[in-house]
């Protein structure tokens, strides 16, 4: 039957359509770059570091989200809360030392998302609904444990995450390591390839003998671990933490994943693409700040970019 794209461009072959979409994408990218570099003060050390910071904090969550999206589970609304929770764990356990606290925070993130991944993998539960439930559980539990108060470092030591090595902020280093590990897992391990196959066609993956539930759980565990890294970095930066710390990070992360070109249906995408997406989102954020726009404006612009990407994707796929 007829569909929108046959009405807009009847009779065009798929390849033509994909090419047109690619041209629009590149055009948009060039326009964005022009707009960014015409901003006064963009080419300066402070704005470069601001950009790097924004990329790192969103980026770790976005790399984690990539695994959830790739396996065909769309997105998780609970990664922001996982990030916050991990931050609280980190701050509260600093008495044990920085490295044990870091490890505990990562473990916390892994366990929280592993549980969700298990429910989604074995019970084939709807991933969005599971993440909403997890979000509510996390927020509720944190409220009880902290009585709604901010958590401050239980011992000094977290400052180490604010230092620079050879002029590069530690947080950026962490992010680049995250990207490298993420892409390594995706391209060079059996689990990575299996995740792409499950995202592409879960029933075919099952018939091919993959242990799909286990692999989905691992994808969620990676998402949790990477989000927790972001939580540690953020709490070190602000010197305190509460459940608001990661609010909105899941939205920015899924935005970055989609802008990067990872398919929301799963089965196609990469961590490198997410790196590109996160750079675009963070660049917009920094430029808007430099140009003196409000937070609300940032939401609006980010929303418009994500919407444009979704429309382009739909047209490219011929719907």
């Amino acid at each position: 039957m007829s569909n929108i794209s046959t009405l807009i461009w009847p009779g065009f072959a798929d390849t033509t359509r994909r090419r047109v979409v690619l041209v629009i994408r590149l055009g948009g990218l060039l326009g964005l770059a022009g707009w960014a570099f015409s901003t006064p003060g963009i080419i300066s050390l402070p704005s470069f570091f601001a950009l790097l910071n924004a990329i790192s904090f969103i980026g770790c969550v976005a790399v984690g989200m990539t695994f959830i999206t790739l396996t065909g589970n769309i997105m998780s609304l609970a990664l922001g809360a996982t990030l916050s929770g991990a931050a609280l764990v980190f701050l509260a356990t600093l008495t044990l030392g920085v490295i044990p606290a870091f490890i505990l925070a990562i473990l916390f993130g892994i366990i929280i998302t592993a549980l969700q991944g298990a429910v989604i993998g074995w019970l084939k539960a709807n991933p969005i609904l599971v993440s909403i439930a997890a979000l509510a559980l996390l927020l509720g539990t944190a409220q009880i444990v902290t009585s709604g108060q901010s958590v401050y470092p239980a011992a000094p030591g977290s400052e180490i995450f604010k230092t620079r090595i050879a002029g590069i902020p530690i947080s950026a280093l962490f992010f680049f390591v995250t990207v490298a590990i993420g892409q390594l897992i995706l391209s060079y391990t059996r689990y990575g390839l299996a995740m792409i196959m499950i995202g592409s066609n879960p029933r075919a993956a099952e018939a091919a003998g993959f242990r799909t539930a286990r692999i989905i759980m691992v994808a969620y565990m990676l998402a949790g671990a990477f989000s927790a890294v972001s939580g540690v970095l953020l709490s070190a930066r602000y010197g305190s933490g509460d459940m608001e710390l990661g609010a909105g990070y899941d939205y920015n992360a899924i935005g970055a994943v989609l802008v990067g070109g990872t398919s929301i249906e799963g089965g196609s995408g990469s961590v490198i693409r997410t790196l590109i997406g996160v750079t675009i989102i963070a660049l917009v954020e920094v430029v808007l700040i430099l140009r003196g726009f409000s937070d609300q404006m940032q939401y609006l612009i980010t929303g418009l970019i994500v919407l444009a990407v979704i429309l382009l994707h739909a047209l490219g796929e011929g719907r």
Binding site: M1, P10, T15, A205, A207, A208, G209
Partner: protein, 513 residues
């Protein structure tokens, strides 16, 4: 709409000219000509088969006639008038109706609602009885006299749904019915009903364009046949003038000696043995033994449970129950990884849904089941995987230049070879389970698939096929198990089996008691 109606009212016998003709039709996608200078005309009261291998241009022709694609050169003439079909709605208004493989019925609505759904002639305040009467007449025309208008469509078999779809087109004053492989998923009994409906449509003065891969159907129900090859028309013949092998030669541009390979019979000891296999509601106690070096076919109609037997053996059915052993070693029925480990490979009949990864490239598809052999400490040996993919592609005859193409760009035949390629492991003896091995596969590729299955067998593997295509069963099997409603009816060696017996078994289970 009025335009279409005026034709409907005109007595058919008055006009003897063709109802539909295309002249010098050319269609290009970029530089590639998918249809080249095609001319054909279809008369009133004619059932015209269109045959050709995958990629011959059949679907493009259908899409042009139904307004999905526009023509680049040439013209379409309907009732002697040149017309430009711009979109699918317009095609419908002109009386051209497509019954595609993917039916467009709403499953939880009743037959009546489905027949009138979306029909612009239904006024907001309508007389229900008049609509019921008209729907009933349409159902009778397609041979569904006994069907209640209030039955929800989801309770109907796929064959009956197709008939309802035909009835729906009738109420919309369709004059030309295009059926795109209507029988691909049907059992023989249902196919017979579709044929009866088509004959009755012809008697009513309608014309039918019938696209099929099954050559037997061409001679059974069609008056004439047009053959396309590589986008060009090879010719149009009356089905009384030519025979099967001539038709095949027209399609392939060469003669193929035999569709089915010849082989030495020599069944070995049983390799896979299942006893008392049950799938709740579908299979009720089924025994099967697949000897090594032989093809065992489970013949049954759609819904007989034959496909479910193999799915259960592959570990894909959660509620399956029974005793299974491979080479004497007991095996759990509910785990695909366990089945794989026991070297049991399964190829699904539902290629798009369960068989292959349509959006991934040929490379990844081929190695999907081979990852275990190319992993060290969780890391992939990417070079080894590429080499394996090349080897497998060569083994099943997939062009190596297509290794990086997406699987959905391949023809049905090539996709099936892909599914096949991933399941073989050269130099390893195992069990191959295959549901409907040649569904949606064209004649040329079909013979290749059969050869591949036989070659697999000659390695000493046991092959179990489930098929609703009796010709295929008789052509390929060393042993035939007939199945009806979840139970075994008969068991035959190659020499004892005949068409009559097998057909009788899967439709009238006399021997079941």
């Amino acid at each position: 709409m009025d335009h279409a109606k005026s034709f409907e009212d005109r007595p058919v016998a008055d006009s003897d000219g063709p109802i539909l003709a295309v002249e010098n039709l050319t269609k290009r996608f970029h530089a590639i000509e998918v249809l080249r200078d095609v001319s054909l005309s279809i008369g009133r009261r004619e059932i015209r088969a269109i045959c050709g291998e995958n990629g011959a241009g059949k679907s493009t022709l259908v899409k042009i006639l139904t307004g999905v694609h526009r023509i680049d050169e040439g013209k379409v003439i309907l009732d002697g008038q040149v017309c430009d079909i711009r979109h699918p709605q317009q095609a419908q208004e002109l009386g051209i109706a497509l019954v595609s493989q993917e039916l467009s019925l709403a499953p939880n609505l009743s037959v009546l609602d489905n027949i009138w759904l979306g029909n612009r002639e239904v006024p907001f305040f309508h007389r229900r009885q008049a609509l019921r009467d008209k729907a009933q007449r349409a159902l009778e025309q397609v041979g569904l006299r006994d069907l209640s208008l209030d039955t929800p469509v989801e309770q109907l078999s796929i064959g009956r749904r197709q008939l309802v779809e035909l009835a729906r087109m009738l109420t919309r004053n369709a004059r030309i019915f295009i059926l795109d492989e209507p029988t691909a998923t049907l059992s023989d009994v249902e196919i017979e009903r579709i044929f009866a409906a088509l004959r009755s449509l012809r008697a009513e003065g309608k014309s039918v364009i019938y696209i099929t891969h099954r050559l037997g159907e061409v001679f059974e129900v069609c008056d004439t046949v047009s053959v396309l090859r590589n986008g060009a028309l090879v010719g149009t013949r009356s089905t009384r003038e030519i025979d099967r092998s001539e038709l095949m030669a027209m399609m392939l541009g060469r003669t193929i000696g035999e569709m089915y390979p010849q082989w030495q019979e020599g069944a070995g000891t049983p390799m896979l043995v299942a006893k008392g296999l049950r799938v709740p509601g579908v299979v009720h106690g089924f025994d099967v033994a697949a000897p090594r070096g032989a093809v065992t076919c489970i013949a049954g109609q759609v819904g007989s449970g034959a496909n479910d037997v193999l799915r259960a053996l592959a570990g894909l059915v959660a509620g399956a129950d029974g005793r299974l052993s491979v080479e004497g070693v007991p095996l759990s029925l509910r785990s695909v990884p366990a089945a794989r480990k026991a070297k049991v490979q399964f190829i699904s009949e539902d290629r798009a849904g369960e068989g292959i990864f349509l959006h991934l490239d040929v490379n990844k598809n081929l190695v999907a089941t081979q990852l275990d052999h190319h992993t060290r400490f969780g890391f992939l040996d990417r070079r080894g995987l590429r080499a394996t993919a090349r080897k497998l592609a060569a083994a099943v005859g997939i062009d190596p230049t297509r290794l990086r193409s997406r699987a959905d760009e391949l023809s049905g035949g090539n996709q099936q070879k892909l599914a096949f390629g991933r399941s073989i492991r050269p130099s390893e003896v195992g069990v191959l389970l295959m549901n409907e091995p040649t569904r949606g596969v064209d004649v040329g590729a079909r013979a290749e698939i059969y050869r591949l299955i036989r070659a697999f067998c000659d390695q000493g593997c046991a092959v179990l096929l489930a098929s609703s295509d009796i010709e295929e069963v008789l052509g390929m099997a060393d042993f035939i198990i007939t199945m009806y409603r979840g139970r075994q009816v008969g068991h035959y060696g190659r020499a004892e089996a005949n068409l009559h017996q097998v057909l009788g078994d899967i439709t009238h289970p006399v021997a079941a008691a």
